[in-house]
């Protein structure tokens, strides 16, 4: 069956139906996630090996701030309609991730301004 060609008489119909239900969002397939991971890791290596030692401390605090991206997940969990325990966990995650993000970017900014000239 021609699924890799994204074409197939039988599946075409079924797929279409689902597309309606989950409103065009299909859960990210594992292999695709891995592909994105590998590309990003390689890209990260190339980018970061170019950063000079002078900037290694700001790099550390800055990338720390970026790892606060998990805030996105925290918001999704904290904002769920089901509430309860999960929402509380989400709340904790929101607090911690926000400290990470806000504190990280701010302190990096503070440091980097000294390097401007």
């Amino acid at each position: 069956m021609n699924t890799l060609l994204a074409f197939d008489e039988k599946t075409a119909e079924t797929t279409e139906k689902v597309v309606e239900v989950v409103s065009q969002v299909v859960p990210l397939p594992l292999v695709i996630g891995l592909t994105i991971l590998i590309l990003a890791v390689f890209l990260g290596f190339e980018l970061i090996t170019k950063i000079p030692p002078t900037l290694h401390t700001p790099l550390m605090s800055g990338s720390n701030a970026i790892s606060g991206i998990t805030l996105v997940g925290a918001i999704l969990v904290a904002g769920t309609e089901h509430g309860g325990f999960a929402a509380f966990l989400g709340f904790l995650a929101v607090v911690m991730a926000t400290v990470n993000v806000v504190g990280g970017f701010l302190v990096t900014h503070r440091m980097l301004q000294k390097f401007k000239r």
């Binding site: 290596f45 002078t54 805030l71 997940g73 980097l112 301004q113």
Partner: protein, 458 residues
């Protein structure tokens, strides 16, 4: 906002993160790079807030307010010298957040989750938990809390760690067949203990490596969470951070001539069979600010080599004043920065930049070493292990092979520190009794200010 638009926003956010890191490759563009990263974060957050599945905003709002307050407070009040501690602490928060997100998502699941989702969840929990307790220990050790010092590694530490790791593997295979939240929290609990156990046995001197590694972990935890909730921006940003932390870890290990496993599982403390301090310090000559001022006034080339002691003494502003004074007299002043001077990579650069010392005067180790023989006076301020010639000459030394700044090869070398006590590696330094070396025993800041006064008056 429809999911397609949200995902497009995530893509834009990823581009901002990448451009942000590209900006960090040069001091001139680094501020802009950091702003880029912050904008990327903002885009991702706003897009998520607009997602259809976010229906109740109370928790989120309160959480963001608290978090912003705490984060902003720390970021604006922390002293530059305390950066390592702060990075360690924030790292832990990042790991904890991922751990909670994965747990919350698992709690919400009703159907039978696929095994890849379960494994991702478990990974996010494990890495997040290890990051949390590991970072807390690192924080405690860097801040030199007394109670952390009292906590000792257990005698059979490595075996216990291995047992915990095996236990985790078993628990993961259990949760694969019984995907219930209870097992998740048990896994997290074991991982929390493991994180503590792994770091408690590592010496304080190796904490910067641990922090960089945990930095990498906090990124990987976020990436694993990305697999849990099927979110590309978490995977991308997490991977970038993962790569960043790993590279910094490598940089440090190379600068200390040690392998990562040696840092993580190696023995610590000084080599027992090394020479004692009394054997080494037979020829120590101490000097005064006036004498140093006289030497400086006839010098043509001066190199200042700062170390952790400069950070402790907060001497960077005094050092800047000394530099200006000498430059006015036509003396060439540069700085020799060892890659692991201080308590995190780039630590010295940040401090000196804070004191408005132009970064093009901060030379890397190789550059300084290449013509250190031409240097008239080398001023070592609170550096110790990074200028210990034993690393070069004594193959038995615990720091043997670590590249150092060869200050002992300068015409004269003045070492400013409070006593003959050792640096973080805990070993004596033969530099202090070298023929061309003079000791100025004083607090770093006070010493530099005394020298300035002496130069002005003399």
């Amino acid at each position: 906002m429809s999911p397609v638009w949200i995902n497009l926003s995530y893509l834009v956010s990823a581009i901002f993160f990448i451009l942000g890191l590209k900006g960090m490759t040069r001091p001139k563009t680094a501020v802009r790079g950091n702003l880029c990263g912050a904008i990327g974060m903002l885009i991702a957050i706003v897009a998520t807030l607009l997602a259809a599945e976010v229906v109740s905003f109370a928790w989120i709002l309160v959480g963001v307010l608290i978090g912003s307050g705490v984060g902003a407070y720390f970021a604006t009040t922390i002293k530059m010298e305390k950066m390592p501690e702060m990075v360690a602490l924030f790292n832990g928060f990042g790991g904890a957040a991922s751990m909670f997100v994965a747990g919350g998502d698992f709690w919400l699941r009703t159907g039978d989750p696929s095994s890849s989702v379960i494994i991702s969840t478990a990974l996010a929990g494990i890495i997040g938990a290890v990051t949390l307790t590991g970072s807390l220990v690192a924080f405690g050790k860097l801040a030199e809390f007394q109670f952390i010092k009292k906590l000792k590694a257990l005698p059979q530490q490595q075996i216990i760690n291995a047992a915990l790791a095996v236990l985790l593997l078993i628990l993961v295979s259990v949760i694969l067949n019984n995907p219930s939240s209870g097992w998740y929290w048990l896994i997290v609990l074991v991982a929390l203990v493991l994180g503590y156990m792994l770091t408690i046995s590592i010496g304080g001197a190796d904490m910067p490596v641990v922090i960089a590694l945990l930095n990498s972990y906090s990124g990987l935890a976020a990436a694993a969470t990305g697999f849990v909730i099927g979110n590309t921006i978490l995977i991308i940003a997490g991977s970038l951070v993962g790569a960043s932390g790993l590279i910094l870890t490598q940089v440090m290990c190379k600068a200390m001539n040690r392998s990562l496993p040696a840092v993580l599982f190696g023995s610590l403390g000084p080599a027992v069979d090394g020479p004692s301090a009394d054997e080494v310090y037979t020829n120590v000559k101490s000097t005064s600010a006036d004498e140093i001022a006289m030497m400086l006034e006839v010098a043509r080339k001066v190199v200042i080599v700062p170390g952790y002691g400069m950070a402790v003494a907060q001497a960077q502003h005094a050092v800047r004043d000394l530099m200006n004074l000498l430059q006015e007299k036509g003396i060439e002043v540069t700085f020799g920065i060892h890659p692991v001077a201080g308590r995190m990579p780039g630590h010295m650069n940040v401090l000196l930049a804070e004191a408005d010392i132009p970064y093009d005067l901060l030379l890397e180790m190789d550059e300084i070493n290449s013509d250190i023989e031409q240097v008239d006076v080398c001023l070592v301020i609170g550096a110790n292990d990074t200028v210990n010639p034993d690393a070069r000459t004594n193959p038995q030394s615990p720091i043997a092979g670590m590249p150092i700044i060869n200050v002992d090869k300068a015409k004269t070398c003045v070492v400013i520190k409070r006593s003959l006590s050792p640096g973080f590696a805990g070993i004596p330094n033969p530099l202090f009794s070298a023929d061309n070396a003079l000791m100025f025993f004083s607090d770093g800041k006070q010493a530099v200010m005394d020298i300035i006064t002496a130069v002005i008056e003399g």
